[in-house]
Symmetry: C2
Subunit: 397 residues, 2 copies
């Protein structure tokens, strides 16, 4: 790469990555690496992979999902079942200059894409494979999630069934872990010339996270003592409230100051001062606020339901209390958080239309990487194969 294209917000400029993937984790990893400056070429079978028609769809049947997670990539399609197609893609991975030789995939079980096969042609290969489970068996976000414990403590208290979160959190975390692992492996290769064979099981991302949050330790020591708290916080005071006109608020107090401010704005300071000695409760302690959460919610709720959404918003904004209105996706897309946020750019995506599209959540030296549209499926097949492969020598037999 030329030094001129390298910038602090695009530290992977010059890097070439081939992505053979579908669904969420690996495509998000590829998109993220592309946002960091890498040239990411997504390779799909002719007609598209299993996620090419994934919902949400436009009324015309274009996958909004696909257009979203493939932004900024180039798209090559090939007959991946034919020897010629496999040789072509093998070359694309392996004969791609000193900053190439990187494969991101979640398509297990294809011998021609195995690490050892490719590393024979490209000894400094970096290959990351997203697995379902570490034993190679299939798993997806929704099934992994069922085993993690979260659905049994999510949702309304007293609800009989598990409650899955709708956010595909494990896929998303796995995708960013994959981008991190590849970036770290690139640094290692820069310094040593060594490649890396990386495997990243979706299930292990979830299990490591449950462990990192201390939930498995707590369960190992004390069993299942964490209750289903609805929208309350474990070990802190936080709760949702409804205003007189139906506006819904999430309110959180993490510090004694937050809590004093919430008492003051709701006019409950005197009642709390009277209650504290009667209950032997020190409300400056987070655990005490947690233990008395139902009482506190009962004390604060009338103020919310006797004020409008606007009155509540104005009053809370003048305090240190952490709070937010609940918004639908449609509310959000028309809110200043999106419309006036430099994170978003109005981008025209062929087949989908013009809509606010996020760039990178991080900014570097005050600059963000703006979003680029997704390719059409196969859009770059001819260009990539001609430019990249024409001049190359035959593969060794």
């Amino acid at each position: 790469m030329s030094a001129s294209t390298r910038s602090p917000e695009q530290p992977l400029a010059g890097v070439r990555i081939v992505e053979i993937s579908s669904f969420v984790a690996a495509p998000l990893a590829g998109m993220t690496l592309s946002q960091l400056g890498a040239d990411v070429i997504r390779v799909d079978p002719i007609g598209g992979a299993a996620d090419y028609h994934r919902w949400p769809l436009t009324d015309d049947g274009t996958s909004i999902y696909w257009a979203s997670f493939n932004r900024g990539k180039r798209s090559v399609t090939a007959d991946l079942r034919s020897a010629a197609g496999q040789e072509m893609i093998t070359r694309l991975i392996c004969e791609s200059g000193p900053e190439g030789g990187i494969l991101l995939t979640n398509t297990a079980g294809r011998a021609w894409l195995d690490h050892d096969t490719l590393a024979r042609l490209r000894p400094d290969l970096i290959r990351l494979e997203v697995l379902g489970r570490s034993d190679g068996s299939a798993a997806v976000d929704y099934t992994v999630n069922a085993a993690t414990g979260f659905p049994l403590v999510t949702g309304p208290p007293g609800h009989a069934e598990p409650v899955n979160h709708v956010l595909p959190a494990w896929d998303l975390l796995c995708g960013i872990y994959a981008a991190l692992s590849i970036t770290a492996a690139i640094r290692h290769r820069d310094a040593t010339g060594e490649g890396s064979r990386i495997t990243l099981p979706l299930e292990d991302v979830a299990l490591a996270t449950a462990g990192n949050l201390g939930l498995l330790t707590e369960a190992a020591l004390y069993g299942d003592r964490r209750p289903r708290l609805g929208n309350g916080l474990y070990g802190q005071y936080g709760q949702n409230f409804t205003a007189s006109d139906g506006g819904e608020f999430m309110v959180v107090t993490l510090t004694a100051r937050h809590f004093r401010d919430l008492a003051a704005v709701t006019g409950t300071g005197a009642a709390l001062a009277a209650l504290a000695p009667a209950l032997g409760a020190d409300f400056s302690d987070e655990g005490t606020r947690y233990r008395h959460r139902e009482l506190l919610t009962g004390l604060f709720a009338p103020w919310f339901r006797e004020h409008t959404t606007e009155q509540v918003s104005t009053a809370l904004a003048a305090t240190s209390v952490l709070w937010e209105r609940y918004r639908t996706f449609h509310d959000l897309v028309h809110d200043a958080r999106v419309t006036r946020n430099p994170l978003f750019t109005l981008l025209r995506q062929p087949g989908v239309g013009t809509h606010p599209t996020p760039g990178t959540p991080m900014s570097v030296n005050g600059r963000r990487v703006p979003p680029r549209p997704a390719p059409e499926l196969g859009e770059h097949t001819a260009v990539v194969l001609r430019e990249e492969l024409r001049q190359r020598t035959p593969l060794p037999e």
Copy 2:
């Protein structure tokens, strides 16, 4: 650093990072960078930061949370309000060899830690600050989440209130994005000698993700047309089912083969074959399966409730169907997924006890980085300050 400590699974060996942080996102970033080999020194005020007593707690009051998110770090405490303390930590950040000069923080508003202040002493400074919102205002996972749209489509259909997910997904994603941003910035500095001033707002992580998932695009084009689906999947067929003895299962079909297998195992193939022409439905299409989800659930549910958990598990295991049992945290910590998973090591954590502790979810060349215990608060103050600062020249005035 010596080449001998550098390995593909610890590509950041030799890198020195100072972390001044609290709560989840920044501490997770620091722990993750430590797992990648960096020497991460967490600096806290004497007595600990605001998260030092964060729940979950042991019965003795030790924070399981704190012990978990600070694993593998060194701990230095100092009086951060005194000029002497500030000078000491400034030196620790800036006078730390060619692979030092990296600050990870979420503590805004301290002039002595500003990028420009530190960059005068360390021109190649890499400084990442996790913000609440991009305007610098405070926000936490729970309040950010309220604005994203997810709580209004999470939880049982017909439920009146928002349903927060319990997993602090935005904090977690933000932490891994932060680790990625710092790793990418290190690579850029290796190549160019340039530092980076990085800001990463928690709210922008959530907004970018809602955008990346296509949810904001769908809402911009069509309004709020995504219903609250309970444990169902949008645009696919997936549902939870209960066995005769109360075992709960999550079942997902992403492909026509998965769906045929689910029909076969539940003995509903003939009924589906009869229904398809009567309804004009092609069940090999994922959108068709989604539209007819209530019907399909009604068709499959009797088989589940007429078989035991063991019978259901055995039968599903012989198919391509994606499935998992719901488990509590306590079930999980005693399950083979944890007890026989090389991700976990039995680790003794002073003040907490011995318990299965996760390492990195990724493995490199077949090797994982095993977990290391968290320090005691301030454990390394004397060692770090003596070893690191004794030989240094005075700071410029």
